[in-house]
């Protein structure tokens, strides 16, 4: 009889499933059916219990072997590779505090805090997160996080369109292609047009909803956010600035330039690169616009006894209340990554974020100046006098892809090949995780590879 409860399959007793055969039997009895199939009457009989081509289950030890071997196939710092990739995902040292707090099951295995009485931990952390993002960006308000940087940027442009009631969005030509690409995917059926704006533009169409600026831009260079913001405002547009949060330890905050909306990829703030995700999008804006903000927002309030507490707020913007008129369709977001960012910011603190930005600056500039000395290699920003952070474009003596192939033989993952945007251009990124010895090894390899061309 036991087998009938699982409809012909041998009933499986698995570590993730506590019920035993006799318990299943008993429950089916209470329900009043003979077998599971008695509960499945609504499923078309001809399609019930289809044949499936899946493996049998593995023990934990076997699982660890299978996935461990997949991990071992990848080249990473732990397998002895140096890497000079950046372009939106950055290698930074993650403090032990971040990993330690990330192991707290009470944070990891909770749901979105819809019941605030049972979620004050998540909620207070979210409020801290919003505070950190405001402090970093110099903005008035921030939400509790978006999916990632590019979607935050896309949602910011859509928000600018809502706020200005305009349908044309300008994006600076120096932005990472992933920003306009995501914006296109996010807006293509909403009648939004996207136009490219040059960083040195002195006028813009007068029907722009916003200028979207990445600074430091895709090439690592700081844009003149102040001037561009003024240009936007003069034309009734908003200024949307996408930043690298690490750079904010050193460079002026967008808030100082009257920027309207700031977005960023939160990954550099304590989040593993993890082949691209999950990350967290940072989103901050002027207080005037909060009711147009997408995403979850946590507010402070009091309980019936007058004690401070935190709760989700301004929920009428959200899909579960406003449905097709919501400011965004986002539901499950990135709270846990927000926790990582919050612990990271608390750990680095005022001095740490400054020291970190400086250290990254020093290392990247050292690398740039050493590379710039090499025959055949030019660092563009050094040639033009641009101010850069973290990453810079190297014009190489031959195709970056050929150079990268040679580098790989020396266990070096070179910079990003951006020859589609800049002739023989390689976008090189250096952070605090590269030692001088690592940089010197890279420079020496470039030199040798360049000479052999």
């Amino acid at each position: 009889m036991a087998s009938s409860t699982t409809s012909g399959n041998p009933s499986v007793n698995h570590p993730y499933i506590p019920s035993t055969d006799s318990e299943r039997e008993e429950m089916l009895g209470v329900i009043g059916v003979d077998s599971l199939d008695g509960l499945l009457g609504d499923i078309p009989a001809e399609h019930r219990h289809p044949a499936l081509n899946l493996d049998s289950g593995l023990s934990e030890q076997e699982l660890a072997t299978v996935i461990g071997s997949m991990a071992a196939e990848n080249a990473s710092a732990s397998s002895g590779y140096l890497s000079f990739l950046g372009a939106g995902s950055y290698s930074h040292y993650i403090p032990s505090t971040v990993r330690s707090i990330l192991q707290r099951g009470e944070f990891v295995t909770a749901y979105t805090p819809y019941q605030p009485e049972a979620a004050q931990g998540t909620l207070q952390v979210g409020f801290e997160f919003q505070t950190v993002i405001c402090q970093l960006t110099g903005m008035e308000v921030a939400n509790a996080g978006m999916y990632d940087g590019p979607t935050a940027f896309a949602e910011a442009c859509l928000m600018a369109a809502r706020v200005t009631k305009r349908t044309k969005v300008g994006v600076l030509s120096t932005a990472d292609g992933r920003l306009p690409d995501t914006l296109v995917a996010y807006s293509k059926h909403q009648g939004i047009d996207i136009v490219e704006v040059e960083p040195d533009a002195t006028d813009i169409p007068d029907d722009l909803a916003c200028i979207g600026i990445q600074s430091p831009n895709f090439f690592g260079e700081i844009e003149d956010v102040e001037r561009l913001t003024k240009l936007a405002h003069d034309n009734g547009a908003l200024s949307v600035v996408h930043v690298n949060p690490t750079a904010l330890g050193m460079f002026k905050a967008p808030g100082e330039f009257d920027v309207d909306i700031v977005t960023a990829e939160g990954q550099p703030l304590g989040v593993p690169m993890a082949f691209g995700g999950p990350y967290v999008g940072l989103f901050a804006c002027k207080k005037a616009h909060i009711r147009q903000m997408p995403g979850r927002i946590i507010g402070r309030t009091t309980d019936t006894q007058g004690r401070t507490g935190y709760a989700l707020t301004l929920q009428t913007r959200e899909q579960h209340i406003r449905r097709e008129r919501a400011t965004s369709n986002i539901c499950t977001s990135t709270q846990l990554i927000g926790l990582m960012v919050t612990v990271y910011a608390a750990t680095l603190g005022k001095q740490g974020i400054k020291d970190l930005a400086n250290l990254c600056y020093q290392k990247a500039h050292y690398a740039a100046s050493e590379i710039n000395k090499l025959d055949g290699y030019t660092v563009d920003a050094m040639a033009t006098g641009g101010t850069f952070f973290h990453e810079f474009v190297v014009s190489c003596p031959k195709s970056p892809s050929a150079i990268n192939a040679d580098l790989l033989d020396r266990k070096i993952i070179g910079g990003l090949d951006i020859s589609d945007r800049s002739e023989n251009g390689m976008l090189v990124c250096v952070t605090e995780t590269s030692s001088k010895a690592d940089i010197d090894k890279f420079v020496k390899a470039l030199s040798e590879i360049g000479a052999s061309s």
Partner: protein, 488 residues
Amino acid sequence: MSITANAGDIDRRLLMDRSVAGRKAFTLPESDVPSQDLPDSSFLRDDVVLPEVSQLEVIRYFSVLSQLNFSIDTNFYPLGSCTMKYNPKINDELSNLPGLADIHPLQPDDTVQGAIRLLKNLQDDLGEITGLPGVSLAPLAGAQGEYAGLLIARAYHEAKNDSKRTVAIVPDSAHGTNPASAAMAGLDVVTVRSDDQGNVDVDNLRELANENTAVFMLTIPSTLGLFEPNILEITKIVHDAGGLVYADGANLNALLGLVKLVDLGVDICHSNLHKTFSTPHGGGGPGSGPVMVTDELAKFLPKPVAIQTEDGYALGTPEQSVGTINGFHGSFSIAARAFAYIKALGLEGLQSVSENAIISANYIQAKLRDKYNLAADRYCMHETVLSATKQKKRGVAGLDIAKRLLDFGIHAPTMYFPLIVDEALMVEPTESESKETLDHFIAVMRQIDDEIDASPELIHEAPHDLPVTRLDEATAARKPVLRWTADE
């Protein structure tokens, strides 16, 4: 001033209020490169005012805060539609292996063969489970999966130059993300009614489906935890009208190995890996919402898609891809967890997941139906929607019952969803809770019903023993305080 003596009464001050100038929790290494000139000071900012606390304060602050949460690791959490099941620890561990956590998304394919192989295997398994073989793991959550799916539907019609199909038909019981995603995709949302059994009103659907229909979005099983008895008829109506059928797969936990979505007439679906495939919810993400489609639609999938080539594995872009819906390749380390989950359970285990989830929900329903009304009085799938209308008449709302449950260390069910059920309390026990836990829940729910007459104030003022009582959410929204400020 007397200090409150109560171990439960913890210090709720924010980090900035604990900050002391000069304290630190971390030290950066000294620079080992020759000192470089700084940019012009006009570029430079003053200090970022972040917390200045010691390392112990960081650990203690967040550790104590964590204890204020209910969570799967500490509580029964029967939150309907959310599938709060056990999140295996081994999955967290494996996804944090340096070879998976420390790889850059733009590394050359040949340096990340293991990672892409993992993605490809997961795509194949999800394709097999749903019967929809075109899979992209790019979407970062269910809602983004929906949006990607709708982009695909639009691209499909556009490719056929069928430009008038601008309507999404959505049941009145649908989750809010469905209409919100449809609106983002530039579709007009038309609502189809549910009948008194909680099923899609087939006649109403027949009226609505026409040459403007781009897509019909159906949650399977429905948000009432029910399987549409007329599913084949429904999908046929849509297909006959030239529309596509989108399945919201948030409830896929009920169907593993029991039925393939493709066999029901589904063209496109998403799955929330953070529900059915047990990746932790993290207090509201990160998640992952892969989109699965028929072979015919695969060319429209968002990028990237993992493919097998002659030399190994690669990330590719489908021919007519709807494009880039986010930064890189989706939630990779969430995908790794879901992959581990599928491998650990295997075919029989996955079937057992759904079987046990269904039995548990029906058991609760059977044991509570004399006290609580049901949204639909028939066997449910993996969740049961109770309706506290009888209790409401006796002076206690669904919300009060939900809050009272917290006093017993049980998380509240999903409240007031789906919108079509009065005083809805949507209970999803999942397969990972023991019968003993279900019996405890049942006993508590029955006791709360008794309390309505015996001691209603216990319910109205609940919860009693948590870090806060009910919060003033109205003031929070009217006068929003959204961050710490110096001048408080």
